[in-house]
C-alpha cells in the first residue's frame, strides 16, 4: 500500500490503481483542491508540489515535482508537501507573504504552483542569485503577471535567512519516514499492478515474465500516455529505487550513470567533467521534470528530439543492457535503430550508461535551439566533440537531435573534419557535408530549411567559440 507523510502524519493511499497520479489523488479522492491542474502534461507547473525525502547528513531534501505526471505509487516512503501545508499556525510562509507583498498573483491559478517552486527554491540551499531563481521558476507558467512581481518576491525570499518551521520538524519527519515499510506491489480490483522493485534481479525477472510491462522511474514521459492517451496499464514496474540503477559515480576510465538516476542527480557529476554541458542540462525540461526524469528514460524513449542522446553520442558513451541474467554492453550509436525503435530486445532494459573521460585537450560544445529558452523541446540540438592535434581536427564526433528520425552523428561532416586543418574553411566544408548526413523534416517546431541552417550554423558557432567569448556569440549572456 502506498504510504507517505501528509499533513505531518502517515497517510496510506486508498487508491490502488496503477495509473493514478498524485494530482488526481489529491483533487478527486482527498478533495484537496489547492493544487491546480493546468495542463496535465507537466508543462505549466500549476500542479507543483514538493517531495521531501532523506538525504545524506540526517537531512531532508526538498524537490519540486509536477503532481499531474507523478504516479501515486512512486511517492511511497516520502513526505508530500502541498500548498495547504505551507502556512503554520495562522502565519503565512515567507514564500506566500512575499508573493502578496510584491503583488505576485493576479488570477491566482498558477500561484500555488509558483509558491511551491519558490518554497523548493528556498530549501535548495544552492546559489540564490537571479539565475538560480530563473531556473527554479522555469517550469512554472504565469499568463497574467509577466513574472516581474514573482521575481521580486523571489528576491525577497533570497534575502530571507531565517529558515522556517519545516527546519524544526526535520528530525521528526526523518524518523517517521524511516519507519515506513517498503512495499513491493499494489493491485487494483481488476488485478492491474504497480510494482516497486528495489533489487535489479527483481526487475529483470519481472520484465522477462511480463515483457509488455512498462518500466517507470520519473514517468515524466510515460504519464502522458495516461493523462492524454488514457492508457490503462496492466503492470508498471517502478525502478527508481533500484540501487544499481539509481546511483552514479566515477569508475575506471569514465562515469557510470545509473539508468534511473534523475537528471538533477546526474548533472553535478557530469558538469564536473564536462562543464560546457551546463546550459544544455539546465535547459532540459524544467526543474520539476529534471527532479524526476532519468537519462535512462530519455535514452530508452529514443525520441529524435531528446537532449541527452546527442550528448552521449558525442561523448562516445555506451549502454549496459540486461535481460534476465544476461547483460551486454552496446555503443550508444548502435542503440537507436529507427523512429522510437531501439536495440532493446523484448524483456531487456537499460541498467546504466558509461561515458568515457575524454582526452584532456578535447573540446565539447553543446547547443540547443528552441522557440523559448526555458522548458522547450529542441528544434535542433547539437553536441560537438573534437580535439586539436597538430592544428588539425581529431577525435571528431558531431551529434544531433532533431535532424533525423533518431538521434545521430553526422558521419560525412565528421569525416570532412577528421584530420583536416583546424580552420573555418574546413568547418564550412563540413557544414556543407551535413546535407549528405541529414534530410530533416518540417514539423511544428521548425521547418526542414531552418533545421539545416541551424545544423550548419551551430557547427560554425562551435568553431567560433574556440576564439570568441560567449558574450560575442551567445544572446543568453544578455539575460
Amino acid at each position: 500500500m502506498t504510504t507517505f507523510i501528509l499533513d505531518g502524519a502517515l497517510h496510506t493511499a486508498s487508491d490502488q490503481c496503477p495509473e493514478t497520479t498524485v494530482l488526481e489523488y489529491l483533487r478527486e479522492t482527498l478533495h484537496r483542491t489547492g493544487t491546480k491542474e493546468g495542463c496535465a502534461s507537466g508543462d505549466c507547473g500549476a500542479c507543483t508540489v514538493v517531495l521531501a525525502e532523506e538525504t545524506e547528513g540526517n537531512k531532508l531534501r526538498y524537490r519540486s515535482i509536477n503532481a499531474c505526471i507523478t504516479l501515486l505509487g512512486t511517492i511511497h516512503g516520502k513526505q508530500l508537501l502541498t500548498i495547504e501545508n505551507l502556512a503554520c499556525g495562522g502565519n503565512l510562509h515567507i514564500c506566500q507573504q512575499a508573493m502578496i507583498d510584491e503583488h505576485g498573483s493576479q488570477c491566482g491559478f498558477c500561484t500555488p504552483g509558483i509558491v511551491m517552486s519558490l518554497f523548493a527554491h528556498s530549501k535548495s540551499g544552492a546559489d540564490q542569485g537571479r539565475n538560480a531563481l530563473l531556473h527554479s521558476l522555469s517550469g512554472n507558467l504565469c499568463r497574467c503577471t509577466g513574472y516581474k512581481p514573482i521575481l521580486s518576491a523571489g528576491s525577497l525570499i533570497n534575502m530571507h535567512s531565517g529558515g522556517d518551521h519545516f527546519d524544526s520538524l526535520e528530525l521528526e519527519v526523518l524518523k517517521e519516514l524511516r519507519a515506513i515499510q517498503p512495499f513491493d506491489s499494489t493491485e487494483d480490483a481488476d488485478g492491474r499492478e504497480f510494482k516497486i522493485c528495489t533489487d535489479i534481479a527483481e526487475v529483470a525477472t519481472a520484465l522477462e515474465r511480463s515483457p509488455q510491462a512498462r518500466l517507470v522511474a520519473g514517468s515524466t514521459d510515460y504519464s502522458l500516455e495516461i493523462t492524454q492517451g488514457l492508457a490503462e496499464p496492466e503492470l508498471l514496474i517502478s525502478v527508481g529505487r533500484v540501487k544499481e540503477m539509481n546511483t552514479c559515480g566515477a569508475v575506471s576510465g569514465g562515469l557510470r550513470i545509473g539508468a534511473a538516476a534523475t537528471l538533477n542527480e546526474a548533472t553535478p557529476l557530469l558538469l564536473q567533467h564536462w562543464p560546457s554541458l551546463e546550459e544544455l542540462l539546465l535547459r532540459f525540461g524544467s526543474p520539476q521534470i529534471r527532479n524526476q526524469a532519468t537519462i535512462g528514460g530519455n535514452v530508452a524513449n529514443a525520441s529524435p528530439v531528446g537532449d541527452t542522446p546527442p550528448v552521449l553520442l558525442a561523448l562516445g558513451a555506451s549502454v549496459e543492457l540486461r535481460k534476465g541474467v544476461a547483460t551486454r554492453t552496446l555503443p550508444i550509436r548502435e542503440f537507436f535503430h529507427s523512429y522510437k525503435k531501439t536495440a532493446l530486445e523484448s524483456g531487456e532494459f537499460i541498467v546504466s550508461i558509461f561515458i568515457p573521460f575524454n582526452h584532456n585537450d578535447a573540446t565539447v560544445r553543446a547547443y540547443k535551439v528552441t522557440k523559448r529558452f526555458e522548458d522547450d523541446i529542441s528544434a535542433v540540438c547539437m553536441v560537438a566533440h573534437w580535439s586539436k592535434v597538430n592544428n588539425r581536427f581529431a577525435d571528431v564526433r558531431i551529434a544531433f537531435g532533431g535532424m533525423a528520425e533518431i538521434p545521430s552523428r553526422g558521419k560525412a561532416c565528421e569525416s570532412v573534419l577528421e584530420g583536416s586543418s583546424f580552420d573555418l574553411q574546413t568547418i564550412d566544408k563540413a557544414a556543407l557535408a551535413l546535407s549528405e548526413d541529414f534530410s530533416p523534416i518540417d514539423d511544428l517546431r521548425a521547418s526542414a530549411t531552418y533545421r539545416k541552417r541551424l545544423a550548419s550554423n551551430l557547427l560554425r558557432r562551435a568553431f567560433l567559440a574556440e576564439t570568441c567569448s560567449d558574450s560575442e556569440l551567445r544572446v543568453t549572456e544578455y539575460g
Binding site: 493576479q106 497574467c144 503577471t145 522557440k371 570568441c468 539575460g479
Partner: protein, 775 residues
C-alpha cells in the same frame, strides 16, 4: 439605544489610488481560492465530455454511438436531436451549433456529449464513436477564402478623402502585405462548467465565464425555459483574456442539458488539448496596403485591406474586424485613407476575443507601414511616428471615423519616455556595437499605442451593482463584472470604500451572479472598472444619501451637516461609527440595500456612414524595447524595456502596473514565440503548452522599467478620472517586433527593410537575416 457594533471603525486612508493587494491575494497563495473545478459536488455528480469530429469539413453520413453508450460508467449521451430548445449558440449571429448534426466545419467540432461516473470514463467513452464522413473541400487560409468570396459577415469600409488620388500624387509610395498570426489565450485554468439542477426545471450553473448573462441566456434557450429559471455564477476565473467571453457558453449549455436530462449535477472540464482544439483564438490577420508619403515620412494617403481569418462562424468577428479598422490609425493622423475589413470564413475553429480584440492587429498593420516608410526614407522610425502623430493644430486631430482627439497625450508621453529611456544615447551605442559585432546584433525601437475605450457595440456600455449594508456595518457588494485576475473586485471595493468612507476590509465582494445583477455585459473591452465601478459608486451614493437624510432627520440637523469620514459619520455634534448608523437606520426602518446603474455617456456610432464617436476616450502608452539577436540561429533576448503608460488617475497603481507588465509580456508573446501551427488537413498541431510556447520567466527583460504617466487625469468624468488598463498595454509588445527588425536591418547597414512576419520566432528572424544577406 444603539447596540454596540461588532465591527469597529478603523482610521482609513482614502481608498482609491492606494496600491492595495488583490482582494484574493491571501486565498491565492494559500490555495484556498475556489475556482469552478474546486467546487465540491455530491457523490451523485456526473462528469461530462465531448465527442470530436476527425474531419475538417465534411458531411456526417453516419454517427454510431452504440459503443459510447455501452462504455463502462456511461449514464447519458446527448446529440443535437436531444436539445429541447435552440440548438445554435451563436452569440450575435447564428452559426455556432451547440452540437453538429449534418455537417462539421472544423476539425474537432463537437458531435455529441457524454456523461459518466468519472472524468476518465467520460473521456474514454467519448473516443469510441464510429463516424462516417463525406469529405468536403476545406479552406484553411484567409487568402483562399477571400478568393472564394467566403465570408462570415459582409465587408465593411471606413474612408476619409480620396486615398487613391492622394497616393497617386504622393512623391513616394510603397505597397506590400503583412501577416500577423493567431494567439491562444492559454488561460491557466481551462474551460469548465458545473450545472446543478434545481426543482421545477430550474438550473444553477457555475461557469468559468466572462459573460454570465450570455451563459444564462443561452442555457435558457437550449433548455427552452425562461431566463428567470437559470442562474449563472462565477466567483473568479483562472485567467480568461477574452477566451471566456463567448467560448465558455458551450460547456455551460452542455453541462446544463446533461444535468437536465439526468437530474444530476454535471461537471464538464476540457482537457488542455481539447481546450486548444475547440476554443477560438486571436484572429490571424493579413493586411495589404498601398501608401503614399512625403520624403519627410508624412503619410499622405493609405489604402489598406484587412483580412481577418474568422474561422467557421461569425462569433464576435464583426466587432473584432471593426476594432482592427478603428485602430488602423493608431496614433497617426491619416489625411486620406480607405480601410476595408474582410471577415473571411475558413474551416478552422471560430476565432474569438483575445485581449485587444482586433486592435493589436490593426495597430501592428500600421506600425509595419511606418517601419517600411522609415526604411524607404532613411529616417529613424521614431521620427516617422512623431511626424504623423495626431496634434491639436493643423486640423490633424480627427480620426478617420470622425472622432476628435480631445486629450493629446501621446506626444508628451513619448517625449518623456525618450528622455527616461535614454533612447538616443542607446541607439548610438547600438550602432557602434553592431559595427564591430559579427554574430550578435542589437536593436531598439519605440512604439506608441492609442486604444479606444468603450464597446463599439454601443448598448453593451452599461452596468449594474447591488449593495447591502448589514446591521453590524459590514457591506456586501455585488456587480455585473467578473474577476479574471485583473483586480476588478479590488478596485470596485476601493471605490465603494472611498464613497462610504469605510475600510476595504468591511466590504465583501460576492461572486458575480445573474440573480443579483441582471442583464450584464461581458467583462471585456477593458471596461470592467469603468462600468461596474461607476455603477457601484452610484449604489454607494444612493445609500449614503439615504443614510444622510435619515441621520439629519433623526438628529434634527441639516443634511449638509452630515459627513462621512474615515469610518465615522459626523452629524452635527454627534459622531457615530458606520456600524452604529447602520444599526440605527435599521431599527428606524430605513432600507440598507441599494442598486446602482451606469451607462457610458457621449458615445454614438453610425455604422452605415462609418462616422461617430464610438469611444468615450482613448488610453495611451509607449514602450522602448531593446533586443539582441544571434544572426547565426535567429535566437534573441529582450534585455531592456521601458514603458510609460497612461491610466489617468490610477485607482490602484499596483494593480495597474500588474496589468501593464503582464499585458506587455503577453503582447511580446504574440509577436515573438507564440506560434500556432496547423497541418495541411486543418489539424491543430500546437495543442498544448508543450509545443505552444507562451513567455516563460526567463523571457522577462532583465531591466523592465514601467511608469504610470503622472499627473494626467482623464478629462472625461470616468470613475475618479481613471482610465481603463486591461487591453492597451498588450500592444506595447509590438516594440519588441520593431526592435528585432532594427537589429536585423543592421546586417545591411539599415538600407534594406527586413521582412519580419509575426510571430517573429527565431526561425522567422533567421529567415529575415538570410533574406537581407542574400540581397
Amino acid at each position: 439605544m444603539v447596540e454596540p457594533a461588532k465591527i469597529t471603525a478603523r482610521t482609513s486612508k482614502p481608498q482609491t489610488g492606494e496600491p492595495l493587494p488583490h482582494e484574493s491575494a491571501k486565498l491565492h497563495v494559500t490555495g484556498e481560492a475556489l475556482y469552478t473545478d474546486d467546487i465540491g459536488t455530491p457523490a451523485s455528480a456526473l462528469h461530462a465530455y465531448v465527442g470530436l469530429s476527425q474531419a475538417t469539413h465534411a458531411r456526417i453520413k453516419n454517427l454510431n454511438l452504440d459503443a459510447v453508450r455501452n462504455a463502462p460508467g456511461v449514464v447519458c449521451v446527448l446529440t443535437a436531436s436531444d436539445i429541447p430548445g435552440s440548438s445554435d449558440i451563436g452569440p450575435v449571429y447564428p452559426g455556432d451549433p451547440l452540437l453538429a448534426s449534418d455537417t462539421v466545419e472544423f476539425r474537432g467540432q463537437i458531435l455529441f456529449a457524454v456523461a459518466a461516473v468519472s472524468n476518465k470514463a467520460a473521456r474514454r467513452a467519448a473516443r469510441l464513436a464510429e463516424i462516417e464522413y463525406e469529405m468536403l473541400p476545406a479552406v484553411l487560409d484567409s487568402q483562399t477564402g477571400h478568393e472564394l468570396e467566403s465570408y462570415v459577415r459582409p465587408m465593411h469600409c471606413q474612408r476619409r478623402g480620396d486615398a487613391n488620388a492622394a497616393i497617386a500624387e504622393a512623391p513616394m509610395k510603397l505597397e506590400g502585405a503583412f501577416q500577423s498570426g493567431g494567439q491562444e489565450q492559454m488561460y491557466l485554468e481551462g474551460q469548465v462548467s458545473l450545472a446543478i439542477p434545481d426543482e421545477d426545471g430550474k438550473m444553477l450553473v457555475y461557469s468559468s465565464t466572462q459573460h454570465p448573462s450570455e451563459g444564462q441566456k443561452l442555457v435558457a434557450e437550449v433548455l427552452n425555459i425562461p431566463l428567470s429559471h437559470v442562474t449563472v455564477q462565477v466567483r473568479r476565473m483562472g485567467g480568461a483574456f477574452g477566451g471566456k467571453e463567448t467560448n465558455a457558453n458551450q460547456w455551460a449549455c452542455l453541462a446544463a442539458l446533461l444535468a437536465n436530462k439526468t437530474s444530476r449535477p454535471v461537471r464538464l472540464k476540457l482537457s488542455r488539448a481539447e481546450d486548444f482544439i475547440l476554443t477560438g483564438k486571436r484572429h490571424p490577420f493579413l493586411s495589404k496596403y498601398k501608401v503614399g508619403f512625403s520624403p519627410s515620412g508624412e503619410i499622405l494617403g493609405l489604402e489598406i485591406d484587412l483580412f481577418g481569418d474568422c474561422g467557421m462562424s461569425p462569433d464576435l468577428s464583426d466587432a473584432i474586424v471593426d476594432r482592427a479598422m478603428f485602430h488602423i490609425d493608431n496614433c497617426y493622423y491619416l489625411a486620406s485613407v480607405t480601410v476595408r475589413g474582410y471577415r473571411v470564413k475558413t474551416n478552422k475553429v471560430s476565432n474569438t476575443a483575445f485581449r485587444g480584440f482586433g486592435g493589436p492587429q490593426g495597430i501592428l498593420a500600421i506600425e509595419n507601414v511606418i517601419e517600411e516608410i522609415a526604411s524607404a526614407t532613411g529616417l529613424d522610425p521614431l521620427v516617422v511616428r512623431q511626424r504623423n502623430f495626431y496634434r491639436p493644430s493643423d486640423n490633424r486631430d480627427t480620426t478617420h471615423y470622425g472622432q476628435r482627439i480631445e486629450q493629446h497625450i501621446i506626444q508628451p508621453l513619448v517625449a518623456r519616455l525618450i528622455i527616461n529611456s535614454e533612447y538616443h544615447k542607446r541607439k548610438n551605442e547600438i550602432h557602434q556595437f553592431n559595427k564591430t559585432s559579427a554574430v550578435l546584433k542589437r536593436g531598439i525601437a519605440i512604439t506608441p499605442v492609442k486604444f479606444g475605450i468603450s464597446f463599439t457595440v454601443t448598448h453593451l456600455n452599461q452596468a449594474g451593482a447591488l449593495l447591502h449594508v448589514y446591521t453590524d456595518g459590514s457591506v456586501q457588494l455585488n456587480h455585473g463584472g467578473t474577476e479574471m485576475g485583473q483586480g476588478l473586485y479590488t478596485k470596485v471595493v476601493q471605490i465603494v470604500a472611498t464613497t462610504l468612507q469605510v475600510d476595504v476590509g468591511d466590504i465583501s465582494c460576492t461572486a458575480t451572479r445573474t440573480d443579483k445583477v441582471p442583464n450584464t455585459s461581458p467583462t471585456a473591452a477593458s471596461s470592467g472598472s469603468d462600468l461596474n465601478g461607476m455603477a457601484a459608486k452610484q449604489a454607494a451614493e444612493t445609500l449614503k444619501h439615504r443614510l444622510s437624510e435619515f441621520a439629519a432627520k433623526h438628529f434634527a440637523v441639516d443634511t449638509s451637516a452630515v459627513q462621512f469620514a474615515s469610518g465615522h459619520i459626523h452629524i452635527g455634534g454627534h459622531t457615530l461609527t458606520f456600524a452604529e448608523l447602520a444599526r440605527l437606520a435599521y431599527v428606524n426602518r430605513v432600507s440598507l440595500s441599494a442598486v446602482g446603474y451606469y451607462r457610458t455617456p457621449k458615445i454614438h456610432y453610425d455604422r452605415s456612414l462609418a462616422r461617430g464617436r464610438p469611444f468615450y476616450y482613448f488610453a495611451y502608452g509607449a514602450a522602448v524595447s531593446e533586443v539582441i539577436v544571434d544572426t547565426l540561429t535567429g535566437e534573441y533576448k529582450v534585455h531592456r524595456v521601458d514603458i510609460c503608460h497612461d491610466v489617468g488617475e490610477s485607482l490602484n497603481p499596483a494593480l495597474d502596473l500588474g496589468q501593464i507588465e503582464g499585458g506587455f509580456i503577453q503582447g511580446m508573446g504574440w509577436v515573438t514565440n507564440e506560434e500556432l501551427v496547423w497541418d495541411d488537413e486543418g489539424r491543430l498541431l500546437t495543442d498544448g503548452p508543450a509545443n505552444y510556447k507562451i513567455p516563460g520567466v526567463g523571457d522577462t527583460p532583465v531591466e523592465f522599467n514601467v511608469e504610470l504617466l503622472p499627473d494626467s487625469p482623464n478629462i472625461e468624468a470616468t470613475i475618479f478620472h481613471s482610465k481603463a488598463v486591461g487591453e492597451p498595454p498588450l500592444m506595447l509588445g509590438i516594440s519588441v517586433w520593431a526592435a528585432l527588425r532594427h537589429a536585423i536591418a543592421s546586417l545591411e547597414d539599415y538600407r534594406v527593410s527586413p521582412h519580419l512576419p509575426v510571430p517573429a520566432t527565431p526561425e522567422k528572424v533567421l529567415l529575415s537575416c538570410d533574406g537581407l544577406r542574400n540581397e
